[in-house]
Symmetry: C2
Subunit: 669 residues, 2 copies
Amino acid sequence: MAVATQSLEQLCINSIRFLAIDAVEKANSGHPGLPMGAAPMAFVLWDRFMRYNPKNPKWFNRDRFVLSAGHGCMLHYALLHLTGYDSVGIDDIKQFRQWGSKTPGHPENHVTEGVEVTTGPLGQGIANAVGLALAEAHLAARFNKPDCTVVDHYTYVILGDGCNMEGISGEACSLAGHWGLGKLIAFYDDNHISIDGSTDISFTEDVAKRFEAYGWHVQHVADGNTDLEAIATAIEKAKAVTDKPSLIKVTTTIGFGSPNKANSHDVHGAALGKAEVQATRDHLGWSYPEFVIPDDAIKHFRKAVERGANYEDEWKAALETYKSKYPEEAATLERLLSGKLPEGWEKSLPTYTPETKADATRNQSGVTLNAIAGVLPELVGGSADLAPSNKTLLKGLGDFQKGQYQNRNLRFGVREHAMGAICNGIALHRSGLIPYGATFLVFTDYMRNSIRLSALSEAPVLWVMTHDSIALGEDGPTHQPVEHIASLRLIPDLTVIRPADGNETSGAYKVAIENRHYPTLMAFSRQNLPNLEGSSIDNVAKGAYVLSDNSDGTPDIILIGTGGETYLCVDAAVKLREEGKKVRVVSMPSWELFEKQDAAYKESVFPASVKKRLAVEAGVSFGWCRYVTDEGATISIDTFGASAPGGVVLEKFGFTVDNVVAKAKELLG
Amino acid sequence: MAVATQSLEQLCINSIRFLAIDAVEKANSGHPGLPMGAAPMAFVLWDRFMRYNPKNPKWFNRDRFVLSAGHGCMLHYALLHLTGYDSVGIDDIKQFRQWGSKTPGHPENHVTEGVEVTTGPLGQGIANAVGLALAEAHLAARFNKPDCTVVDHYTYVILGDGCNMEGISGEACSLAGHWGLGKLIAFYDDNHISIDGSTDISFTEDVAKRFEAYGWHVQHVADGNTDLEAIATAIEKAKAVTDKPSLIKVTTTIGFGSPNKANSHDVHGAALGKAEVQATRDHLGWSYPEFVIPDDAIKHFRKAVERGANYEDEWKAALETYKSKYPEEAATLERLLSGKLPEGWEKSLPTYTPETKADATRNQSGVTLNAIAGVLPELVGGSADLAPSNKTLLKGLGDFQKGQYQNRNLRFGVREHAMGAICNGIALHRSGLIPYGATFLVFTDYMRNSIRLSALSEAPVLWVMTHDSIALGEDGPTHQPVEHIASLRLIPDLTVIRPADGNETSGAYKVAIENRHYPTLMAFSRQNLPNLEGSSIDNVAKGAYVLSDNSDGTPDIILIGTGGETYLCVDAAVKLREEGKKVRVVSMPSWELFEKQDAAYKESVFPASVKKRLAVEAGVSFGWCRYVTDEGATISIDTFGASAPGGVVLEKFGFTVDNVVAKAKELLG
């Protein structure tokens, strides 16, 4: 087709395609196929339906857009540029996939304004979108009034075959169907191609039927390449169904327009190559040089700027009315949107004395959650079907269920991975909600990528993990974490805290709640633990601190404990001191927090001159050399655990006061 | 009902129930609910259909049974005891969940003969079962002859609501449907209860419809508590459908027989308590003391012993005929079953010299896989939709597809977690097959629990991971592993190898193939790497070895490299030596293998007297203190990566020869 014959809409759609083609070609790296095939559905959505304000990407009531098939990110960057976002100029697009650019190889919300969540690992985006839609439903139920609506937006997603093959998407979509999230609308880019070739070789299930089984409203657009009206009609119908999420299966041709590579995996993840780029220009009648967009297209796309300003103005007007009519709710909503915590919230944290009866930190965690839930209306969350074991139920606050969206307990079912990504989505809704997700520590293995992404995408989620060691006992090695605490400490920007008792549990929550930029993972015990002399809420923020010391500052040995093993160090120190030893006991709930302290504080806890150090932790020894020095030692477990009562398991693996004393004496020689 | 009125079958079913009830009660720990509810289906299966030989649990052609809902393991232990397995005596059952017992809290194949796979983490078992059924289909297609069948068994699974909520089960069952594994028959124990209570609060999808969408044959037994004939008929129908896997949804009452706790989550995961145990005895008319089984029941169950002996004899006879008619195939089959590798297989491993052109180790991995596939007919495997990137395709050996089960390339689709558990199942089929599974290293996060279980359950799988560092470049931080090598080194009994070049790649495969007891994970580069002077196939088995040293054995400094960073150490050493420094270069492809060496060898590589050590690895520094001492240092990356061309990313993060030289000089002072 010649340019002359191209409708304005075709011109706009091809503008998206060629920005993607040219950017990938210049970088000689990337994924042109998806943008070329999905451009029509994306254009119809962004041009006719989606409500957003390019000049204020953070406008609270905007519709959320998630590209779950994150490798197709040039589609998103092209839309942001064309509709007038300042975050992506044409020069940024020319810098696609280059060092320090605003257009990295996969969408990163912390890099590019207008990107809501970080996608790329397949299936995460659709699960994040369930979290975004959940947040909208929850806030709408809590704040909207019959005569005044201040929370009202859709969440749109584009996902591909890869997302649909991943288990996490199945988990998340089953929940979305159960919850009946009617304002979640997902486009399934059914292009029949993945990296290995045709999906015929590994993916022949009936996806539409599966989503119907989840309780979704499902439609099919047979020609997603050219039938714009069918796409528009499907979106209208999807919006009309308010009690079910909608899947619109849009059959497209990957790499549409490329005469020799379309509908093949060659166009999925590599540049077209000079010749094929030209052939595609010829085939689509695109006479513009690379990175040049016709004025008519730009002019049309940029109408989004005025449109968006009006949307936000309307909302602001509604908010003003809301403030006058419902000042109290308005104040709460505005505080939430500001991201500020209520003055003095931390006074609600429980405190303990050595006289307080011994208890499991998982129980103290449950008490803390319920205590702070009263002063933090933004706290919402739940467990992956282990609420009675994780102690995460917020009493009297009800279950978030279809039609009961105002309630704050989330019932994730046995779906750890989806729970992780949904919590990330709630946090990245950026409406002040503080989500928490819980399971047994060992099952962080089921949700590890979501935990990693909470750190990478700066989603300040609270990860509440219980049954944090072999001390859980009878369930045995499949349920006993051994390498997990260490493996989580490895994740950049994730703070891991393993409290020793009640005060440190309160301290862990203080750190976690006040850290509104990054996630925090807390590991709690199944077994009872004594409340320790000298334990402190505030010292948890320092990562490690001196619990007791009978020396003048240069002890013979430093005993380092974390979590449930700290009291072993305390009791061992008593015995060693009876024998005249100078012993310091350090409680070290968090390595990451300790590393953030200045050199002077570090030296005050671990004097360089004191080389005899013994770390006691019911986990792998890996990494402890960092704190115990070449002359130190650890009491740890470098094998899998075993099934037996918790006390027996601890004893068999050497987690006893006597063994701590013995190992300390060995070191002292 | 009074005992007198109990049919022999009821007596048998209640025998299962009360062994579970009494064992959990004695341990005061465990899950009585599932065994009580699933006893009828399990009894019908084990009594009327399943082919096994209690006196030879390892009989190759046995039907496989997997309890995917592993927490209900007392069901399995009871069946093993009642049918006459020597591995589980009544005293073992009395030791349920105690230290060192044969009856741990979840089924562990390496502890209890008769248990095929290790389950407990939900969803793993059904995915393992897909692997077991795949192995049977593959071997049957390769070895059976029109006139002689030597491979012919079913794989039966019981899974619960929890398994069905987990994404991994969806991934695995989608594949099973795609592959049309007709001899896989799964019972869905539809008891409507999970730990959080009724599944109504989180799991209301139409499971049967979902499995139909996967291409399964689905049936429903409405009364799984008492309608034994309906269960039997369903199994017969399932066996009659040979081109689809079968799901039999069996609606049961969890804790059936407990008058006050049945159909509640109280009976899911805790002992009934003395009073309720008695109430249940009264309710089911069970007058026998704890752990006492009526003779009639024992007598009937133990018929399995003679039955099983006959099954095995028939098979042996068939095998004899097979040997005489098809001696060549028989020899191969017998070698596979023996677990022995063919004489001199390792001669097929490619070798390299420094003159061999630089290449990516992922390419050398692909060459190696294809080279050894020729001499190792037991090698089967594939990638999670990244075959062209992982270089894992076995050329000319075809795709394992419905009706093409003899082929050796497995197309897993984008389903890492299921791939992991399916590979575990293939390995635990214990028929000599050597499975491999591949994806990008960063996506081990999607399958971490399966990798952990390969180590815990002693499944000798080859994990082939490519794109092993930030050097992969443009795809950015979501695709760049940083903490992953370290996090995998943490897993007990998993050997992690990161080869530096071609010879070390061959060496990695030599170690991995010869390790028939535990899994091996190999990490390969996307980028080209030079073949190093002094690199060695055999030295990989030592974990670390001296590549070069210009000292008399006490160098000024030791440069330690792994994988793609080793050559930086080699080149840096040249420069440092030009300046008169005595420099040793150690290539350290595997920590685990090095730790297995004796003290003398370790000292010969890392002399205690040489404290100046610099480790260079494009991953986190965590743990390296173990080898670099308090006086050493690392060049590592403790943040997330970034999107840019690989060479640029490496340079920005300090992975250059000049930086290695500079850091070394700092250490040397």
